[in-house]
């Protein structure tokens, strides 16, 4: 075998073996569980697609969780990407103490969800919380919201916390991308009389496609699977207003002891991710062909 083939094998083997065992082997067992009505402490019987039929036809809570997951994903991606890009550009504009700001923006990422959830539960309190108190103090009391105490805003409030936690990393990825742009091209544009705005919009940003893809895939992962913050901040409530697929799966599996049904929800969550990832892979491939 050529050195190249050996090299490819050696370099791929560890990663592929690990993923095969820890992802696909375990997944197979979970998929098998999803075709049964396994409950804790009981013997399971095969029910084929019974769980899947039930979730889409009879389970309103499941349908709400699915919708909420999609909503959360949209909000999270829709705000994190522009925010990360915006901050990266600000940093790129020749500010001193860039390192300090970059560290500060990453600090939210250093907090575990236990700490973040407590911080934000307090910040979001309608009467005495930090946010509303400050809004009232600076005369913007009309902007004070019920946040997580209301069913209409609970999901959005949780989304805000995820954005807070993760956008610093998006900033970092974008900043790295911006710094990799060849300075010569920008010099040339400057000589041609392009304004700062134009330079960014027409030269730098198009080169950020790989960075955007990276950020997108990461944010998609977080938002589709998100469990910890939602669980600790609202528990899915009030009612099912902030229930997402991951929290619903947890409740069904562990609080209601329906392991078979819970596994099927997990499979649906994974399938949802497959569709999205496949879409992006195709987009990436097309981008590279240009």
């Amino acid at each position: 075998m050529s050195k190249r083939k050996i090299g490819t094998l050696v370099f791929l083997a560890p990663a592929v073996v690990l993923v095969t065992v820890f992802v696909y082997m375990f997944l197979a067992q979970s998929i098998h569980m999803s075709f049964t009505n396994l409950r804790f402490g009981r013997v399971a019987t095969w029910i084929g697609l019974g769980n899947y039929i039930r979730m889409f036809t009879r389970d309103a809570a499941f349908q709400t969780s699915l919708l909420n997951t999609l909503k959360l994903t949209a909000v999270f991606i829709g705000l994190t990407i522009p925010l990360g890009l915006f901050l990266a550009i600000l940093l790129d504009l020749g500010v001193k103490a860039k390192g300090l700001f970059r560290t500060i923006f990453l600090i939210p990422l250093s907090f575990s969800f236990v700490a973040s959830s407590v911080m934000w539960v307090w910040a979001f309190l309608p009467e005495t919380g930090t946010i509303n108190t400050i809004l009232r103090a600076i005369g913007l009391s009309s902007l004070a919201q019920p946040w997580i105490s209301s069913g209409s805003q609970s999901l959005l409030s949780v989304a805000l916390v995820y954005i807070w936690q993760f956008s610093g990393f998006a900033t970092l990825v974008y900043y790295t991308g911006i710094s990799s742009v060849d300075p010569a091209i920008i010099e040339a544009a400057g000589i041609d009389g392009a304004s700062t705005w134009r330079k960014y919009w027409h030269i730098v940003i198009p080169q950020l496609k790989p960075a955007t893809v990276t950020v997108l895939i990461l944010t998609l992962m977080y938002s589709l699977k998100c469990f910890d913050l939602v669980w600790m901040m609202t528990g899915g409530g009030p009612g099912y207003s902030s229930e997402v697929l991951a929290t619903f799966m947890y409740k069904v599996t562990f609080s209601q002891s329906k392991f078979g049904y819970g596994a099927s929800i997990g499979v649906v969550l994974l399938l949802l991710s497959v569709v999205v990832v496949a879409a992006f892979m195709i987009y990436m491939k097309r981008g590279e062909r240009d």
């Binding site: 050195k3 050996i6 490819t8 050696v10 791929l12 990663a15 592929v16 690990l18 993923v19 065992v21 820890f22 992802v23 696909y24 375990f26 067992q29 600000l90 940093l91 790129d92 504009l93 020749g94 500010v95 390192g99 970059r102 560290t103 990453l106 990422l109 250093s110 236990v114 700490a115 407590v118 911080m119 307090w122 910040a123 919380g129 930090t130 807070w164 610093g168 990393f169 970092l172 790295t176 990799s180 300075p183 920008i186 400057g190 700062t196 730098v204 790989p210 990276t214 992962m221 589709l224 699977k225 469990f227 697929l245 991951a246 799966m249 994974l270 990832v277 892979m281 491939k285 590279e288």
Partner: protein, 277 residues
Amino acid sequence: MTDSPIRFRASRVAVYALLILMTVLYLLPLYGLINTSFKTSEDIANGPIAPASSLYLGAYKAAASSLGRPLLNSAIVVVGATLFSTILGAMAGYVFSKFRFRGSEILFFLVILGFYLPYQAILIPLVRFMGTIHLFNTYFGLILTHTAYGVPITTLLFRNYYATIPNELLESASVDGCSFFSAFRRIMLPLSLPGFAVVGIFQFANVWNDYLFGLTLTQGVNAQPVTVAVANLRGTMTAVWNVQMAGAFLSSLPIILIYIFLLKLVVKGLLMGSVKG
């Protein structure tokens, strides 16, 4: 520091003002945390906004006494898992970015997909497997688990990163007679510094903040990570906020220090990259 070639036309004050505003917004939630960590139990009843009556250190002492061993555990697991998942990701990412072979697209897709696996769905097979290979409640068991679930994302990040390195570099190397391995060692690795640092930051955060695997795969305090220990600083039917907040703050300090260190590497790497001939 890299000086941007885009000359500064916008008002410098405006940019600084915006950055400071963002800083305040990012750090605002910390106020409640830090404030409460210095409160006595009586103070806590006054609510999260009211400032602590004094710099009471009892909460920090109590938290520190419970977090000693868990901090060590987390450190060992994080370093091990980050090292392994980063190295394996760099290796696999190199192959996927530079070498096409039959099925490489599908294989890459399947590896990335692991990233989206909802972990609650595989807890039972995971615990069973760890028991079978006698790695339940061990450091190596946790490291192996985190490595396996970190590989999909590190592979993706490195693959995207290496894709930005022009193929001509490798082609000229192979003309010079460089083998697969030495091409990786001599050309790709030196250019990987920012990649390693960025991936490192992500993985450190991921593994350090993990709660689910730490809870599921450890028993007792010997291998328990700091996230589980901090979560246990609250009672189930009582809340001991000040100790909990002190613990949360203490447990985030090491990771912030690592960020500062790794960010320096990012900058260094970017500098190296921009000076390429």
